[in-house]
């Protein structure tokens, strides 16, 4: 098998916001069809790392390459799933219209979306099994359903790289598992980076794990051991056991 190509190359990157250093000397390479889990405590710079890859913010120092290009130029190859809690749930918008936003860059400049845009949106909704919800108002959906809508929006642009920010917040365990199964299937063709503060489920699905806490504490090539995780969270991690008695 030939050597896998690098999708993302982050080289000695520092990022500061209002004078506070959020990320320091981060170096990270992600290969084609990898499934990388990025974990770390709240406020450790995980989302910042995603936004740097998307070119929404720029590092203070260091170099970022996505598909060998500057991040802004590679955006059409990236699907991004933000945290749905950042979106206004009282906004009158249908599921279909949310998904179509993922086609905005490819759609005609003026007027309505084209037939191909609608078809692509329908296919993406079928892929994540929310086609039946297409006429519902986005704000009335449950957390897990909203997550799937945002995944459809990310997939409708046919991305080669999928970035997900805490996709399993505010969803229950079964939905969480469904989402990971779906990602596993997508991973056969798409490189995935998933950010999570929860170590629980993540390890059984991802291929590599990177711990971020301002610095990249453990590199994805290392094996995940208790010591490394403790270094990341700067203290022993209380493993949380879910006990369900019905």
């Amino acid at each position: 098998m030939s050597q896998k190509k690098s999708v993302i190359e982050i080289d000695h990157v520092d990022f500061a916001y209002n004078g506070d250093l959020i990320l320091e000397d981060v170096t990270l390479t992600v290969k084609e069809r990898d499934f990388l889990g990025v974990v770390g405590p709240n406020g450790s710079g995980k989302t910042t790392l995603l936004k740097i890859i998307l070119g929404l913010i720029h590092p203070l120092r260091g170099k970022v390459r996505v598909f060998g290009q500057a991040p802004e130029r590679a955006r059409h190859l990236i699907g991004y799933v933000p945290q749905h809690t950042d979106l206004d749930s009282s906004f009158p918008i249908s599921v279909m219209d949310v998904v179509l936003i993922g086609r905005l860059g490819k759609a005609p400049l003026l007027g309505r979306y084209g037939k191909t845009d609608r078809q692509a949106a329908e296919e993406a909704m079928q892929e994540v099994e929310i086609y039946d919800l297409r006429n519902r108002r986005f704000g009335t959906l449950s957390g897990g359903q909203k997550q799937r809508v945002l995944m459809a929006r990310a997939l409708v642009g046919k991305p080669n790289l999928l970035l997900l920010d805490e996709p399993t917040t505010s969803v229950d365990g079964r939905v969480e598992q469904d989402i990971y199964e779906l990602l596993k299937k997508l991973n056969e063709q798409v490189t995935i980076i998933l950010v999570s503060h929860d170590l629980g489920f993540i390890s059984s699905y991802v291929k590599h794990v990177a711990c971020v806490n301002q610095r990249l504490v453990c590199n994805p090539t290392n094996e995940i051991t208790g010591d490394v995780i403790e270094a990341c969270y700067s203290g022993p991690v209380h493993m949380i056991k879910h006990q369900c008695e019905l």
């Binding site: 998307l54 929404l56 955006r75 059409h76 990236i78 991004y80 933000p82 979106l87 206004d88 009282s90 906004f91 009158p92 918008i93 249908s94 219209d97 949310v98 179509l100 936003i101 993922g102 905005l104 860059g105 759609a107 003026l110 007027g111 309505r112 979306y113 108002r137 929006r153 209380h238 493993m239 949380i240 056991k241 879910h242 006990q243 369900c244 008695e245 019905l246």
Partner: protein, 297 residues
């Protein structure tokens, strides 16, 4: 009511008032929807109050104040829009300052204008019964412009209002789209100032849309319903205010405000009734959640 109908048949000023009220309703229904869903009421307030500066300057140099209003509204929209995008942290302070400076400049120019003293009150609180045919034509063409641009940019405006960050990732020029949206809101404000004046314009811009929001599922529906509500509010305001000789602008706003309050109360009651019906299911769910204990070991 009868006197109003007689006046409507015989008096040109009353026909102008009703027509301009209907045109204004279309603009306020469409653009007010964006103001409400994008939560930019304060930005719109800033734009509308700086308009007095432009009206005062136009008046001083002998032009029709409405032209000064158009220019100053567009300038204010672009300046305030850039401030809100670039200096987000100081947004409200800067808009508050522009708001006050705009009004102060307007008052200085109006005060220094030689000749008879114009009625400042009609700028501030509007005088729909005084609008001339020229204003009706101007408002009609602004309406046409707003409708045409919203049809062309509908999907972009929707995307930028709902999720600015994702629109940026789609590479669609979020800044230009946002500034265009604010410019259309600015033109709507100029139209509405003819009806209710600078001080009350925010109410007419937001109340029909905010009321409509309770009953709709999409932005398009919200625009249509808000326009219809706007038409009902302006026309009924004119009818109610005619015989007792009340100020029309203030009457329109009181009607719109009462309708919004009623709709809010009804919505609250409806969701409470709905909540009772769902209570059984909720209790079952709560029981399930209690059974699912999370323990730390």
């Amino acid at each position: 009511m009868f006197e109003f109908m007689v006046a409507l048949k015989s008096q040109g000023f009353m026909q102008n008032a009703v027509i301009i009220g209907l045109f204004a309703s279309v603009a306020c229904g469409i653009m007010g929807t964006y103001v409400v869903v994008k939560r930019i009421v304060f930005i719109s307030g800033g734009i509308s109050h700086t308009v007095l500066g432009g009206m005062g300057i136009a008046y001083y140099y002998g032009y029709h104040p409405i032209y000064g209003a158009v220019v100053s509204a567009l300038v204010a929209a672009i300046v305030i829009g850039l401030v809100s995008l670039r200096y987000h942290q100081y947004e409200d302070t800067i808009i508050g300052a522009l708001w006050a400076i705009g009004m102060a400049v307007g008052i200085l120019f109006i005060y220094k204008t030689p000749g008879y003293n114009i009625d400042l009150m009609s700028y501030l609180f509007g005088n729909i019964l005084m609008v001339d045919k020229g204003s009706v034509y101007l408002v009609a063409s602004l309406d046409a412009l707003i409708i045409a641009l919203v049809l062309l940019f509908y999907k972009r405006f929707l995307a930028v209002c709902f999720d600015e960050e994702y629109s940026q990732l789609q590479g669609i020029g979020v800044v230009t789209t946002y500034l265009l949206l604010l410019c259309l809101i600015a033109l709507t404000i100029v139209i509405l100032i003819q009806v209710v004046g600078i001080i009350l314009v925010i109410a007419l811009l937001t109340l029909p849309a905010a009321t409509a929001r309770y009953y709709v599922r999409s932005l398009g529906q919200m625009m249509i319903l808000a326009s219809l509500l706007g038409a009902v509010f302006t026309t009924s305001g004119l009818i109610v205010s005619y015989q007792p000789n009340l100020p029309a602008g203030a009457t329109i706003i009181v009607i719109a405000g009462l309708a919004y309050l009623l709709a809010t109360v009804f919505k609250g009651l409806a969701s409470r009734v709905h909540g009772h019906r769902d209570k059984g299911t909720h209790e079952k769910m709560a029981g399930l959640e209690q059974g699912c204990k999370i323990t730390e070991s």
